[in-house]
Every structure is written in structure tokens, then in C-alpha cells.
Subunit: 203 residues, 2 copies
Amino acid sequence: MTEDLVSSAVDRSLRNRRSAAEVEVARLLETGRDLLGAGTNPKVGEIVKAAKVSNEAFYRYFGSKDRFVAAVVEDGCRRMVAHVEHKLSGHADPAQQLHVVIDTMLKQAGPRVGRSTRNILALSRASNGAREQVTFEETLASVFEPVLVDLGSSDPRRDARASASAVIGVLQDLLWNEQAPTTGDTDHLARFLLAAVSRPATS
Amino acid sequence: MTEDLVSSAVDRSLRNRRSAAEVEVARLLETGRDLLGAGTNPKVGEIVKAAKVSNEAFYRYFGSKDRFVAAVVEDGCRRMVAHVEHKLSGHADPAQQLHVVIDTMLKQAGPRVGRSTRNILALSRASNGAREQVTFEETLASVFEPVLVDLGSSDPRRDARASASAVIGVLQDLLWNEQAPTTGDTDHLARFLLAAVSRPATS
């Protein structure tokens, strides 16, 4: 009985500490997004002050400034995927869904968000940039996959992977050339991928 | 007359110095490829010793170890494109050329060269990784473009850009998952891109 009380007290305390930590981490990431996105390279002191978190907590959560920037990038990728999924849910026709994924992704290079994305990526010196990009592309591919199944893809896993790479490549091209996406860009990529995916089973 | 002699002496001296520098830079890059590719993280002292170049020359050419690693990566990309162009020249049929580009690129994830590529990229902490990847994709796209014109592409520039991204994305996927490419991987991507590029002008 006592043991139960003890263990539930410990559980409660850990739960509380965990949720307090989650709130602090979320606030740090949001602050990082704002400060890094503005194009400055803020010191850790400025970040923790703006996020109202202790210096000690910052290093406990992230270990280093580079790892923090990597976490901001990773968080941004996760938010992008969630945004794409949200947009997708508003459409039923798979060809339209494909268009929506492409449109939502390429808008990341739009005038305002494009600059912020460039600024954050420019500060990202995490050693595993290439690996992280692969993880992001794999996540995006998993969002693509059911849409490509509905479009009649004969190899949805591979098609989704190639499609995700094509979309992210075109997005990066726009981003680094500082070009906002046009409807021509979106429509082209949608037609390109639609034709690729709806090809006859054997050619 | 004297001035001519002086200026041609200066020219000759600069030419000689330039070609000596080119030889040293090439030797440093080759050494870098070997040492970095072997999976160690060599010190500058080891690199210059193996390349038989002075420490001072290393910093004169590259400025820092990070910039040297970035140069090794860039040089590797240039070599890969030259290799693709060489392979292309042996084929006349555009569908076969498309297959050759994909096959040559994906082989970069093959058992031996794949490990070396992974090792080099893992050490690459140059701040502009994403920008450099875009430059590489643009160069590869320019190799793709004439092939896609021959395949009847209605928008060869955009098609080439999307195709290059898809190929590099699939290559990175294989590389970081430590998988050697199968003929299934190559054939799938060739069919995918062939269908994408030979789509009807308007869909």
C-alpha cells in the first residue's frame, strides 16, 4: 500500500517535471524559430532570455547551440509535414491531393516564410545535415504514399520516395535562388509526378 | 620593348606559379579523398604530410579544414558529373541514356564507393551544405536536359531539375540506409522518369 503511494507520488512528480520540460522546450524552439528566422545569429544568452528559460536548462535539453539549431530545423520539418497532412485532409480526389502536397510544400519558398527558412538553414551546421534531410524526405514520402496508391501506382513505396525527393529538390532550388514559387512551378511538378505515377505497369 | 620583356617574364612566372599551385591543390584533394574516405578524421598535419605540401600552402589554398572538406566534396561532385557525361557519350538512344545516367549515379551508393562517400559527407560541416547540393543538382540537371529534349520533353529545364532531384534523393536514401542499389532500383527510377518526361503536353 505504502509502496503504491510512493510510486504514484514519484510518477506524478515525474509527470509534472516532464510536462514542465516539454513546455520549456516548446518555448525555446518557438523562440529559436523567431530569432534565427529573423536572420541574426543570436547568442545562447539572448535565446534563453527571450524564452524565459535558464541557461542551465538550455544546455540540459540541447547540449550545444549547434544541436539547438538542428532541433529548430527538425521541428520546422515536422511542422511542415503536419501542415501538409492538415491541408490534405480537406481534399478527396487523389490528383487534387497530389497538387495540394506540392503547392503546400513549394509555398515554403514564398516571400516571407522563404526568407526565414533560408536564414534558419544557413545557421544550421549540424554534422548530420544530409542524414536529416533523408529522414525528412522519408517522412514526406510516407505522407505521399497513400495518395499515390489511390492514383494507381504500381510501386507506391518507391514512387513516393522519388516524388518526395523531386518536390524537396524543386523547393530547395526556389529557396536558394530566392524565387517565390509560381503556379507554373506547381502545375508543372504536379503533371510531372502524375504522369510518372500513373505510368503503365510495365513499359 | 623592355616593358614587353618584363611583362612576359611576369606572365611566365605567374603561369609557372599557377600551374605549380594547381598541381598541389590536385594532390591535396586526392589525398583528402583517400584519407577522409577511409573513415578517419585526419588532422591538417597528416593531410599535408601525405600530400607532400607545406602547412602554409594548405591554409593559403583552403583557409581552414572545414573549407578543405567542402572542396573535397565539391571536387567529388564534379568528378561524378564528368563520369556521367563520359558514360553518356557511349550511347545514342535517349531512353538508354536516361537509364545510364540513373545507373551511374546510383552506383555511387555501391558497396565500396558508398562507404567512402558516406565517410566524406559525414565529415562535411561546411555551412553551405544545402546551397552546394543545389549547385550540384543544377549541374546534373544540365547533363540531363539534352537527353530529356530527345525524349520529347515539353519543358526540359523544369523536367531536368525535377529528375535530377529525384535521382539524387534516391541516391542519398540508399547511401544513408547503407543499401547498395539493385537493378530494381535503377529500372524503377528509369521508368518513373521516362513516364514523367514523355507525358502528353497538357494533361
